[in-house]
Every structure is written in C-alpha cells, then in structure tokens.
C-alpha cells in the first residue's frame, strides 16, 4: 500500500441517542480507490460524514499527516470533496453555476478546471446553461462529480454513485473515476451497493456491519470470502 492519505482510528459517530459507528478504523493510501460495502444502515454513509465532519464524531481522523478538525469547511479546504448520496446538486442553478460553486474555496483558474471537468464529462459542456434539476440522473451524477473535481481535491468521498442510474451509465461513471485517479492522482473512498463493480475498480475494501468493520482486505481477498460473496456479490 502507498503512503496513507487518510486514516480513521477508532471513529465513533452518533445521531442524537443513536450510535451509528462503534469504532471504525480504516486507511486510504495516496492514489488508491477504496470501497466500503455493507447492508442498509451499516454505517457506510456515516463513515463518509465522519470524515467530512458533517456528523458528530469521536476518535481520530488523520488527513495528509495532520489531525483533521471536525468542521466541514476545514475539511473542504484541506482537500476533501464529499459527493453525498442523492448527489446534492443545486437543482435551481445552472450546470455552470454548480461547477463554479465547487471552486468556491479557491476562486482561481475556474475556466481551466471547468475545461478539465468537461473533458471527463462532455455532456456537461453541452448543457452548461441548463438548470441542474432538468438533467437526467446520469448527468446529475456527472455534475456532482464534476463539481467535486472543481475543488481540486486530494480525496473524493463518494456515496453510492450508482444510485438510480442505468447499468450502462454506472459502468461509465466508474471508468471515468479510474481515469481521474490515473490522471489527477486523486484518492477515492467510495460507498457502493454494486459490490461486483466496486471491487472490480477498488484496490481494497472494507465491509461494515452495524457500525463496525467486519471484513477488510484486497478486492481479490474479498471476492474469495464466502460470506462476502453470499451477501454482497450473489454468487
């Protein structure tokens, strides 16, 4: 494994009285794509929120060798972009304004960065003046990813990019992720229910159950794991 970019040490998180994470430990190396698998309610989304500081958390989060404060704006400035479940695009704004907002923490070279985003997602350029809410599901996911890339992140947190997308589009999204990883050197922590696809693109993966890591290993190791096959891969 390469030098670690993100480390979670025994991270706990809760929503009011309900504890969602019971001590999660995981690492993401530089340039790695790491998948998080698990059933509905296992704590996958909460793990991403714990990193970006959008849920109350205990335990240690180290990013790029430094302790990460639990403030979403500090997380964004440190180089972490969070693409939430359901994409979270500003549906009333145009594609272009959504992209500009992604660059808000920097405000320079917006045009160059947009050109990079359009290279990965050509449909966004054709639709730059269109209201985001009128895009198809696949295009909205592209916009959410594009907006995240505008912040020039070192780490991308992706919550179920395949949600609501046609199979052919999901495959395309993962192809682009691979390209961005190779060309931009970013790292990716992705929560994904399409485990077959996620493992095909990830170096390693963690399986969560009830707020704990129960299985971890390389994608090959997970594919060979009987219980992972039965619950998440279905063969």
């Amino acid at each position: 494994m390469s030098r670690s970019l993100l480390e979670l040490n025994n991270v706990e998180a809760r929503y009011g009285p309900v504890k969602a994470l019971h001590g999660v430990t995981l690492t993401v190396g530089e340039g790695e794509l790491i998948a998080v698998l698990g059933a509905n309610g296992a704590g996958k989304t909460t793990t991403l929120r714990a990193v970006s500081g959008t849920v109350k958390r205990d335990g240690e989060v180290i990013f790029n060798g430094k302790k990460l404060p639990r403030r979403p704006e500090a997380t964004a400035r440190a180089g972490i972009a969070h693409v939430p479940e359901g994409r979270g695009t500003f549906t009333e704004l145009s594609v272009w304004d959504n992209l500009r907002l992604g660059a808000y923490v920097r405000r320079s070279n917006v045009k160059d960065d947009a050109a990079r985003v359009f290279k990965y997602f050509p449909p966004l350029e054709e639709r730059r003046q269109q209201q985001a809410g009128t895009l198809s599901g696949g295009e909205q996911q592209m916009l959410a990813l594009g907006r995240a890339m505008m912040a020039r992140p070192k780490l991308l947190l992706l919550d179920e990019p395949s949600l609501g997308l046609a199979p052919i589009v999901v495959a395309e999204i993962f192809r682009v992720l691979d390209a961005m990883k190779a060309e931009e050197g970013i790292s990716v922590l992705v929560v994904e229910q399409n485990a077959t696809l996620a493992l095909a693109h990830a170096a390693r993966a963690y399986v969560l159950e009830v707020g704990r890591v129960v299985v971890k290993g390389s994608s090959d190791e997970l594919r060979a794991n009987e219980s992972v096959r039965r619950s998440y891969l279905g063969y």
Binding site: Y15, G38, N40, G164, P167
Partner: protein, 234 residues
C-alpha cells in the same frame, strides 16, 4: 380487462418529448417492470398515471375508466399509490406519522401498527424519518403507500441503497405483498437482478418511446435493449 391501461400517451415539456405515444398495460395481480436509460420517461410515466402531469395526447384508464378526469388528490381514492425515486417523506415527522398520512388518505383497512410490523419498521416507529438510512426511508415510503389500501402500487426504484442480499429479500417481499394485499405492481428499477426475478412482464422505454416489451427473458435478450440500456448481456 387490464387494471391499468396507458394508451398512446405523449407528454412534452417545451421542446422535449418525454413520452412519445407510449402504450402499456398491467393485468390484475401482475408485477410489471418498467425499465430504460436515465431520462427515458419512466418517472414521467409514473407522474402521468398519478395525475401530477396531464398528457398532451392519449389516455390512461384504470379499471376501464379514464383517470384524466380525476384530480391528483383523487388518484389515491381510486386505489393507486406510489413511492418516489428520491424519497419524498415528511422529513421531520416520525415513521408512524408518515404511515398514518397514507392511511388517512383513504381510510386503509390495515391498522397502522400491523402494517409497521409487516414491513418490519415497528421498532423504529417513533424515530424521525429523516434520521433513517436511505434504504429504510424507502421502506417507510412503501409502508405509507400500502397504508392507503391501494389496488395498484407504483414503486420507483425500491432497491436504492440496498445490498445484494437485501435486494433479494425485497424481491421476495414484493411477491408476498402482492399476494397478501391483492396488489398489482408497476416497478421502475435499475437493479436488473430484481426486475428480472420478480416481474411477470417488462416494458422498456428509451427516449420517450417504448422499444420493447415481453417476459423478462425476451427483454433481456433483445438487442436494442442491450445496446440502449444493459450494456452487456445480463
């Protein structure tokens, strides 16, 4: 006579043709899948059936009678209820209150408490809906839809947020529910494993047109469907 007939329906938004002369039907007791690429018109079809949209052409008949003279608020009393692609719960309200809204809409015969046991949400009934995981919120929507005692249930991507094993359980659950509540089900879903295992028939939309329809096996091997949607045979 089919329970639901979508008859040559077209719906345009400005210059965009969302539905272009689409026809399909659902017989009593059938589970009918509606699949197709993003932007193909699946959710628009749901919105036409539930009267959120009025079609520019064509007719929608339920139990042989046109739905187009029914107000959107009257659709649920005709016996049609639905879930939504991106979850449209009353976010600040508890699970049980969300389900009560469904029951209130049409004096469902099922008690709300029984229904919550049936969908395995009883232990979460006082939790605010917005706090629950995505897949669980989808189940609350399902319970709310069931609470109105529908004859036709429209499910918009019920497998969202579920793992492979949970999707299998959902498939079994949809079939059991059809029997227990005498339902006809129209299912929009991208999880092909689910659609192909539970649907009796599948209709395929692409760019607002119906490009195929038939049994899951027929649709799965249709060349046009593979090219437009599936990508690889599967």
């Amino acid at each position: 006579m089919p329970l639901l007939e979508v008859d040559n329906v077209s719906k345009r938004f400005g210059g965009i043709v969302a539905l272009d002369g689409v026809s399909f039907d659902a017989e009593v007791g059938e589970i009918v899948g509606l699949i197709g690429p993003n932007g193909a018109g699946k959710t628009t079809a749901f919105n036409v059936i539930t009267r959120l949209y009025t079609p520019d052409e064509g007719d929608v008949r339920f139990e042989g009678e046109s739905l187009l003279r029914t107000a959107p608020s009257g659709v649920i009393r005709r016996g049609i209820s639905r879930t939504f692609q991106n979850v449209e719960l009353f976010r600040g309200m508890s699970v049980i209150d969300n389900v009560r809204v469904g029951a209130h809409a049409r004096r469902g015969e099922q008690s709300t408490e029984d229904l919550l046991f049936y969908v395995n949400l009883h232990s979460l009934r006082y939790r605010p809906a917005s706090e629950l995981p995505y897949g669980t919120q989808k189940r609350v929507e399902l319970a709310r839809a069931l609470a109105s005692g529908p004859r036709l249930l429209l499910l918009d991507e019920p497998a969202g947020g579920l793992s492979h094993e949970e999707v299998n359980q959902l498939g079994t659950f949809i079939r059991r529910m059809r029997g227990d509540f005498d339902l006809t089900v129209l299912l929009v879903e991208h999880h092909m494993g689910l659609v192909m295992s539970v649907a009796d028939r599948v209709h395929v939309l692409d760019f607002g047109k119906k490009i195929a329809g038939g049994t899951p096996a027929e649709v799965r091997s249709n060349k046009e469907v593979i090219e437009a949607y599936l990508g690889v045979p599967g």
